[in-house]
């Protein structure tokens, strides 16, 4: 009797164990079936991973769920994915194009003087609510973007939207308060998505959940919070229609979940897969891995007002002690590039400064001695819970130990870190920042910069930013930005560590019909085509 009970119990335990192991595949199989019910055939059949080919559905795995479709009310990249599926900007940044942009809703533009731009809008573009796009909608959208100012309020400041002139339904003129080479470039680089004034004002607060005022190629049909949003093709789209009738964005927060989804063939595209899975993903037969350049640069921000770190010799010594060529590939699993300039690769003004720090312990020790810190001191670095950053910090701790600098690592929430850095109540931190134009770094390096985490003050740097932004001559601008990058290399208010890349995975036969050089473009999944 007792034996039988034991047997029965062991059997039960084995069954439970097996059930536990099988859970993963069972659940993912189940969720793969659900979208099939919505449109077309199931993306997977059996265990063989096969990407959707004939069916009309494109499934994309994203790393986070956005909060809203409201183009003027979001500050996170994740909402950007949602907004950009339905709305379009005036133009895209495009490094392959001679003047740096690809026209979208603005067909062309010309500069009347260094303070005025005239935009010619595309004719016959219909919003999803059936209205035709007019110059008044564009002015309304720019006005909204400026008032909300969610993306970098400083850059909007110079735009004189009150004096915008509507010449006819398809032509308008915009002015700036002061001459600037940057404001219009900023305006054209996807910073404003155009909505129908009627649709947006009618819906008010509700627009974020029911976005019917965009011109984009997809229309929102369903939003299951925490799981997915579903789009249907906009049959009245003005441009080349997307190939897929249905597009589904699935939210998979855990990185490995996205890798698993790719491996089991549940998705066609996965955005930002874990770099540690590079090898696994590269070995998949039906997918290709695309290391996607981003505008992000990982920096070591140094509080230049700190007791020890205010001494430029100390900052240089710390930089010389780091062997970034070894450390960065280890920390980021060979994804991304070792940084050399304070400007990111997405800024056209980026140069290689005269001084790029290479490991030189002798020099580092000499500088520390000169500064009077031969015996070292204690430093603390605050970082968010990201494995690459933790690994970097562990390596820094080891490297700086040779200078007798003892590094303490503290992991904190991003909001706490932002709070401490803005107050200047910190010594070191690692954060990713970036931009599409030299002017974007004003925020970090200008003494009045809104994100001057380093609390860096240099009159010449301030002056250079002002000179560069006021000149219309790109050559002259470049000269100022070159000097600026060289000063930052010498004074290290922030040490660039890595030019970030993310790993996007695409089905083998899929491709973007445009050049998705930077992350905003890659986020417009409607450009994905099947060969």
């Amino acid at each position: 009797m007792k034996k039988q009970v034991i047997k029965a119990l062991s059997l039960l335990m084995v069954v439970m164990l097996l059930a536990g192991c099988g859970g993963q595949s069972a659940s993912s199989g189940g969720s793969a079936g659900t979208p099939a019910a919505g449109g077309g055939t199931a993306p997977t059949e059996g265990t063989a991973a096969s990407v959707t080919v004939e069916d009309d559905t494109l499934i994309v795995a994203l790393d986070a769920e956005g909060a809203t479709f409201d183009p003027f009310n979001f500050a996170d990249l994740d909402s950007g994915f949602l907004v950009r599926a339905v709305h379009e900007p005036l133009a895209y940044l495009d490094s392959t194009n001679p003047d740096g942009f690809t026209p979208v809703l603005a067909e062309s533009w010309e500069y009347l003087d260094n303070q005025t731009i005239r935009l010619h809008l595309r004719k016959g573009v219909k919003f999803q609510n059936g209205e035709e796009m007019k110059a008044s909608d564009v002015v309304f959208s720019i006005k909204m973007a400026k008032t909300k100012g969610l993306v970098s309020p400083v850059n909007w400041k110079n735009l004189d939207i009150e004096n915008a002139k509507i010449i006819d339904d398809y032509t308008l003129e915009l002015k700036t308060y002061e001459p600037s080479s940057f404001t219009f470039a900023w305006l054209l680089s996807e910073m404003v998505n155009i909505v129908s004034e009627k649709a947006y004002t009618e819906q008010g607060e509700k627009y974020g959940r029911n976005p019917n005022g965009g011109t984009g190629p997809y229309i929102l049909t369903d939003w299951v919070a925490g799981d997915r949003v579903t789009f249907t093709r906009n049959e009245n789209y003005w441009g080349e229609k997307p190939q897929y009738k249905t597009m589904i964005l699935r939210f998979m927060v855990e990185g490995t979940a996205r890798t698993f989804a790719v491996e089991s063939g549940d998705v066609d595209v996965a955005y930002s897969c874990p770099t540690a899975d590079l090898k696994t993903l590269s070995n998949l037969e039906n997918y290709k891995v695309i290391p996607q350049k981003t505008s992000g640069v990982n920096y070591l921000f140094i509080n230049t007002q700190d007791k020890y770190l205010k001494d430029v010799r100390v900052r240089k010594a710390l930089s010389y002690a780091l062997d970034l060529d070894t450390m960065v590939p280890i920390a980021y699993n060979n994804v991304g590039k070792v940084a050399f300039s304070v400007f990111g690769p997405s800024a056209p003004q980026q140069i290689k400064p005269d001084l790029v720090y290479k490991k030189d312990m002798e020099k580092a020790k000499a500088l520390m001695k000169e500064a009077g810190y031969e015996d070292g001191f204690d430093l603390k670095i605050i970082i968010t819970d990201r494995s690459a950053r933790k690994t970097l910090c562990e390596m820094m701790k080891n490297a700086w130990a040779e200078l007798n600098v003892n590094l303490e690592i503290e992991v904190l929430e991003l909001s706490t870190i932002l709070d401490l850095t803005m107050k200047g109540d910190y010594q070191l931190t690692i954060m990713a920042e970036g931009g599409f134009h030299g002017e974007a770094w004003r925020a970090f390096l200008h003494s009045d910069g809104v994100n001057n985490y380093s609390h860096y003050k240099n009159a010449r740097v301030d002056e250079l930013f002002d000179l560069a932004v006021k000149t219309a001559d790109a050559q002259e601008g470049a000269k100022y930005y070159n000097e600026l990058q060289n000063i930052c290399a010498e004074e290290v208010p922030m040490l660039p560590l890595q030019y970030d890349e993310i790993l996007n995975v695409l089905g083998k036969d899929l491709y973007y019909s445009v050049d998705p050089t930077y992350n905003f473009m890659a986020a417009r999944f409607y450009y994905i085509r099947h060969k």
Partner: protein
């Protein structure tokens, strides 16, 4: 103060008799040869193979935690960028991690943090909980109600959630982690101590102590607590496993011990990114977490049986 109606000496004798009746009832051999309680429990403990096994593993881990440098072939933060992700081999028996550090050495040093935090968390919890429990039990009435209702409130918050909240408020370091774990677990100790003391506080030896003028503190700490030790020790042992696990769990989610210190949960957390390619980064720390808790639980179970007078053969 209770009324003193019996001479103290008499009460003390009665107390002794009662004690014998409670702890050694129906025992014929101890009438002549008196064996101390601890020795007898010890004998009963080592007669159980599972408990002995648990104890041996546990002692081995404690030795690891105390003297890691004697066994570990390398330091815990000895980064060697030329040998990253080496699988287990003769030189590095548990392989190396993403910075070329010897996983075996890190696991050994990790015992110090994981078990140390667990140990001190239990001590603190016992101190806070024990004091509150004995005050509640000894004074009864309103003190009891207030303390126990307070503990009920604390108990109604999931302990891991409470620990997370405390570490996020205090900041993440070893001391705060220990405090967080002990605060989240002390009500259990308070309850055990209260129950144990309630069961003996009406006995005559307490009355006797009172009769000879012992203060409340003395009665609680010299008379009541030593006699209520058995269930407390058992709870502490079992609680140690829970505390080690909480420490690892909090470190895993980044709220505990910070890198590069090699706490087991931190190692698991750092290694999970590489789990698909380099299994040894998570398997070994995970195995040691399991071993520690398994041994503590076996030992705790054995101890409970050994200290339980009803199970005496």
């Amino acid at each position: 103060m209770a009324k003193i109606s019996t001479p103290a000496i008499m009460a003390f004798q009665i107390n002794q008799e009662k004690r014998e009746r409670i702890f050694k009832k129906k025992n014929d051999s101890t009438d002549t040869v008196s064996v101390p309680l601890w020795l007898e429990s010890w004998r009963r403990l080592i007669r159980r193979p599972t408990a002995t096994l648990g104890m041996i593993i546990f002692l081995a881990l404690v030795l690891m935690a105390l003297f890691p440098s004697l066994i570990a072939p390398e330091g815990y933060d000895n980064q060697q960028y030329t040998k990253l992700f080496q699988p287990p081999n003769a030189q590095n028996i548990m392989g190396t991690d993403n910075l070329g550090r010897d996983v075996f050495s890190r696991v050994l040093y990790g015992a110090r943090y994981s078990m140390g935090v667990g140990f001190f968390a239990v001590i603190f919890a016992l101190l806070i909980g024990g004091t509150m429990g004995s005050i509640a039990a000894f004074y009864g009435g309103r003190a009891d109600s207030i303390i126990m209702r307070f503990l009920d409130i604390v108990l109604s918050i999931p302990s891991i959630l409470l620990a997370i909240a405390i570490t996020s408020i205090l900041g993440t370091n070893i001391v705060n982690l220990t405090i967080a774990i002990s605060i989240s677990s002390f009500p259990h100790y308070a309850r055990i101590v209260r129950a144990a003391i309630l069961s003996i506080k009406e006995l005559e030896f307490v009355e006797a102590a009172r009769a000879i003028g012992a203060s409340d503190t003395r009665i609680i700490f010299r008379h009541l607590l030593p006699n209520a030790m058995a269930p407390i020790i058992v709870q502490a042992t079992v609680g140690l496993g829970g505390a080690i696990l909480s420490c690892a769990a909090l470190s895993f989610i980044g709220l505990g011990i910070q890198p590069p210190l090699p706490e087991w949960g931190t190692m698991l957390s750092a290694g999970r990114e590489y789990i698909r390619e380099y299994w040894w980064l998570v398997v070994f720390p995970g195995m040691f977490i399991m071993l520690a808790i398994f041994s503590v639980n076996l030992f705790g179970d054995g101890l409970r049986d050994a200290l339980d007078p009803r199970l005496k053969q």
